[in-house]
Symmetry: C2
């Protein structure tokens, strides 16, 4: 957490109380969060500020954007273990998939890859019946 704060300060941005609060929510969340979810957890912060905070964090390389199959954009700390996910199309439960194939792709393309998404949707064990 301390090093995250350093990253914010190091970028030249001020460490304000809204930013600290958003950072903490991300830090304590097991799963990536939507802007709405972050805002719900910090109702005293204006939505626009959450929006701009996440935008800043994204620009300074602190958070990543993830688009799940439900089309909602979620955010997670880059420093959190890099993970992909499966979301249940029925109940919305999200499970991590501890696997990633970026390195394979890098071998077969001339692009310099900077971002990627690898997300799944399906039915979780509970919803298959």
């Amino acid at each position: 957490m301390e090093n995250l704060i350093e990253i914010v300060k190091g970028s030249g941005a001020k460490l304000t109380s809204p930013r600290k609060k958003v950072l903490e929510k991300l830090y304590h969340s097991e799963l990536p969060l939507t802007l709405k979810e972050i805002h719900n957890e910090c109702k005293d912060i204006d939505f626009a500020s959450v929006y701009r905070t996440i935008k800043l964090f994204n620009e300074i390389g602190l958070v990543d954007e993830i688009t799940f199959a439900d089309k909602k954009i979620r955010y997670e700390l880059v420093s959190n273990l890099h993970n992909h996910h499966i979301i249940c199309s029925n109940c919305g439960e999200i499970e991590k998939v501890p696997i990633c194939f970026v390195s394979e792709i890098k071998k077969i393309t001339k692009y310099k890859i900077t971002k990627h998404t690898l997300e799944f949707m399906g039915l979780c064990p509970n919803c298959q019946n």
Copy 2:
């Protein structure tokens, strides 16, 4: 193309002229298209109709939804060869990635996978200088 038309009819939906036109655009497109792009190519069709047509096609399993790293949702015929893509963050050029790892994932999760996304963003060879 004929079999696509059969799929539409077979679903119980009427084969109207807007639907035929949208189907053709998808059929002749090398790459997945956004609703806006489809609508631009068929300006005589109302946007809402394009929207509902694609929604229908998606529901009857004719088209797939793809979310690229640019956050735009694109659509492509399921019958087109299943492909993933890289989009250049600078010029927007899109390249196909002829590779997919769904089967690997199926081995390590109890979810019944119905959809997945695997998309990349980076700099194309031209934009790396």
